[in-house]
């Protein structure tokens, strides 16, 4: 029952200081979402994130069951545990969503991303790039006298590491698919 004690003409009081100042830990989770492959479904899923200011680190989607027109969307997202829980239940209640799996908490999983990297160079740098590619098990899928296109799959961390090494050797362009993931075991 305390008084607000706001003086006439004062400007310092705001009614909008509602945020909790103790921001808890941010986690990264990989979600697999099985949806009907109907028009607008991706916009619906993405809108759920963008409309609430939640993050999408990466997102991949393709029809995985042609007979029943189901697509699998793999989303890597970050947020507080409460936000992650909220995202999952928001996804679950969407009409075209059939299944939501949080691969980060549902036991071990494999996560892979495909990347294409274009590296241009001559002489030593070119040879060094090829040598490193071999170590990282990247394939050459296109080559000219001045360039290679490497293809590699791996975890996002491995791709980051390879890209970092290629940068001084003439990396000029990179395309990444984002993560596809499955739980381990049957």
């Amino acid at each position: 029952m305390s008084a607000l004690n706001i003086k006439k003409g004062s400007t310092s009081h705001s009614a909008y200081e509602l945020r909790d100042p103790n921001t808890p830990v941010i986690e990264s989770h990989t979600l697999a979402v099985v949806v009907d492959n109907e028009s607008g479904v991706l916009a619906r899923v993405i809108g759920l994130f963008s409309g609430r200011g939640y993050n999408i680190e990466s997102l991949t989607v393709a029809e995985t069951d042609h007979a029943s027109h189901r697509s699998r969307i793999t989303i890597v997202t970050t947020g507080t545990p409460q936000v992650i829980e909220h995202i999952k239940s928001l996804l679950e209640r969407m009409v075209p969503v059939h299944e939501v799996h949080d691969l980060t908490v549902e036991g071990p999983s494999v996560q892979r991303e495909l990347a294409l990297l274009k590296v241009a160079g001559h002489g030593e740098a070119r040879i060094e790039a090829l040598r490193l590619a071999e170590i990282f098990r990247a394939n050459v899928v296109d080559s000219t006298l001045e360039s290679f296109v490497f293809e590699m799959t791996g975890t996002p961390v491995k791709i980051d590491a390879f890209a970092d090494l290629m940068r001084p050797l003439g990396l000029i362009e990179i395309a990444r698919t984002g993560v596809a993931a499955l739980s381990r075991g049957a």
Binding site: I6, S10, L18, S89, R93
Partner: protein
């Protein structure tokens, strides 16, 4: 043999099969085939509105007062964009609606055709689900699915966007039972083990409290019935959100009144002080919680909700039960009775003693006047003079809305229609028409503020045309009162743009519409004027001139905890002590 028909005929057939009796709508180029099909039948009544926002709010009023799905029909482009506010309103208040919109023909979509708008794109975030139907063969199934989605689980608005060529083309009609709805079946029965935990907690709690919301109303009359039994048998106190008023009767012994930003002192202090909070179909809205870290710090919290995404969204709960309120209450009541109907009698007695002290504060006390009509007094008189009548109330948004919630008593569910989640000024008048269409013989009153009322006043034309004798009870303070109150309390009394200038003469306005206008300025005349309004067989615009600078109390300023409530004007000035403020 499947029945062959045009898309437009399918729309009408599906509405009939779904038991729809009334459609609120407004025609235009992209829905002409559907209007043609409506013209050629007599089962479905069409209510021609004056603005599409009005159609959606009428459908909401219809839905909320009947428990049925409300239906609206609008044209493409501006028709659909005018529906957006209503759709958002229905989404936030969980009102089941099916909205049908016309669209440019499929071959023109994406060309910026005349009256083309990306309606499914625009309405995606403000519907539960929406469909753009590009093939007549799929239209009837989508229509049935639309009704299924709107009313299943947590209810909400859906939209079906129908291109004009799809309305003209012919295909087989999918009968209602053949429509595939199996995959969208939200869970309705609560987990029995979790319910058992709730029941155990109820047996030992010293300071328990039922905190109920719109979910009880949405669950249907049985939920309210079970809630009443549970409250009566446990003896627990009960409060409700704005959305849940009427699920427990205002005359009930254990009723603490509404809680929240403008809720009652006893309700909010009980929320703050309880040791067991039983949230039944409410969603910890920010109007309820105030400052989150200080929200009911000492309580264990049980949350019953049909929408899993509501649980743990803002407030961490100890027991989350996903399910339909009626089903969960039935099971909880069964378990609790089977275990011997136990409560902590000693704790409860002390708790009630404490609550009765809070009640004695009489937080709704206001300073009456013999010369000016106080808005609270106007509502007290309205309440007294309509008590026991078959009455439905809608409201606009502002101070008058909060006073209506505080001073009118609701004995039954589905009798109180107000825009809670979105706070949409302009909701009340069309909503009152929707209610009256559903209940032609009942008394329907819209408690309005003059500013809100003007936002959709064109719908008086609809009220006249369809002979809905709605009573527009306008508490006219010539102010955007709620805005003015915040400016007084939080912005140093700088009243920026919160006047209602150049108001119409409401009595003449009523005459212009062909209905009755009444103005009342003196408290001594008020009873007679209200009786005149009640006796008049037709729509009435009642211009009730009230005190211009009255503030609505109690008030928990945004971002403050429940126990930092302002009780009266004196509180805000810090002149008189809190105890004194109570008496003002």
């Amino acid at each position: 043999m499947a029945r062959q028909m045009t898309g437009a005929e399918m729309v009408v057939q599906a509405l009939k099969d779904q038991g729809v009796e009334v459609v609120f709508g407004y025609p235009g180029g992209a829905v002409l085939p559907i209007y043609d099909a409506i013209f050629q039948q007599n089962d479905i009544r069409h209510i021609l509105v004056r603005h599409e926002q009005g159609a959606i709010h009428m459908a909401e009023g219809y839905a909320r007062s009947t428990g049925k799905v409300g239906v609206a029909l609008v044209t493409s482009g501006p028709g659909a964009t005018n529906a957006v506010t209503g759709l958002t309103d229905a989404l936030l208040d969980s009102i089941p609606l099916v909205v049908l919109s016309g669209q440019v023909p499929t071959f023109m979509i994406g060309t910026d055709g005349f009256q083309e708008a990306d309606t499914v794109g625009i309405t995606r975030p403000c519907t539960k689900h929406n469909w753009l139907v590009k093939d007549t063969a799929k239209l009837s199934e989508v229509m049935h699915q639309a009704f299924h989605v709107a009313k299943s689980g947590r209810p909400g608005p859906v939209l079906v966007d129908i291109p004009k060529d799809v309305q003209f083309a012919t295909a087989d009609y999918t009968e209602m039972p053949a429509a595939r709805t199996a995959h969208y079946q939200p869970r309705t029965t609560g987990d029995t083990a979790q319910i058992a935990r709730m029941v155990e907690m109820m047996e030992t709690a010293e300071r328990p409290l039922f905190y109920t919301g719109g979910g009880v109303i949405n669950s249907g009359p049985r939920a309210s019935q079970l809630l009443r039994e549970f409250v009566a048998e446990t003896g627990f106190p009960i409060t409700s959100t704005l959305m849940g008023l009427g699920s427990y009767p205002a005359s009930g012994q254990n009723w603490l009144g509404m809680l929240g930003m403008h809720g009652l002192y006893e309700a909010n202090l009980s929320m703050h002080g309880c040791d067991l909070m039983l949230n039944i179909g409410a969603r910890f809205d920010d109007r309820i919680t105030g400052r989150i870290p200080d929200f009911s710090p000492k309580s264990k919290k049980v949350h019953v909700d049909i929408d899993p995404s509501s649980i743990n969204k803002v407030i961490r709960t100890d027991v989350g039960i996903i399910g339909d309120v009626a089903e969960v209450l039935a099971e909880a009541l069964r378990q609790w009775r089977a275990r011997g109907s136990k409560v902590n009698k000693e704790g409860l007695a002390k708790w009630w003693a404490q609550i009765n002290e809070w009640r004695a504060v009489k937080c709704l006390t206001y300073k009456n006047s013999t010369t000016v009509i106080k808005p609270q007094y106007a509502l007290e008189r309205l309440e007294a003079l309509t008590k026991g009548m078959d009455r439905y109330i809608t409201t606009e948004v502002g101070q008058h809305q909060m006073w209506a919630a505080q001073f009118l008593g609701f004995e039954d569910p589905n009798r109180w229609m107000t825009s809670g989640g979105l706070g949409t000024m302009g909701y009340g008048l069309p909503a009152s028409i929707g209610v009256q269409i559903a209940h032609p013989k009942s008394l329907v009153i819209n408690v309005a503020g003059e500013a809100s009322w003007l936002m959709n006043m064109q719908e008086m034309g609809t009220a006249m045309q369809f002979r809905t004798p709605v009573k527009q009870f306008i508490l006219n303070n010539e102010r955007l009162g709620m805005v003015r109150q915040w400016q007084e309390l939080l912005h140093g009394e700088r009243y920026s743009q919160s006047w209602s200038e150049s108001l119409p003469d409401f009595v003449k306005l009523a005459e212009a519409f062909g209905c009755k206008g009444i103005q009342c300025t003196d408290p001594k005349d008020l009873d007679d004027a209200i009786m005149q309004m009640l006796r008049y067989d037709g729509p009435v615009i009642f211009d009730c001139r009230v005190e211009k600078h009255e503030n609505c109390f109690p008030m928990i300023p945004s971002g403050k905890p429940h126990n930092e409530m302002l009780l009266g004007d004196a509180d805000t000035q810090g002149v008189i002590g809190a105890k004194g403020a109570v008496l003002v």
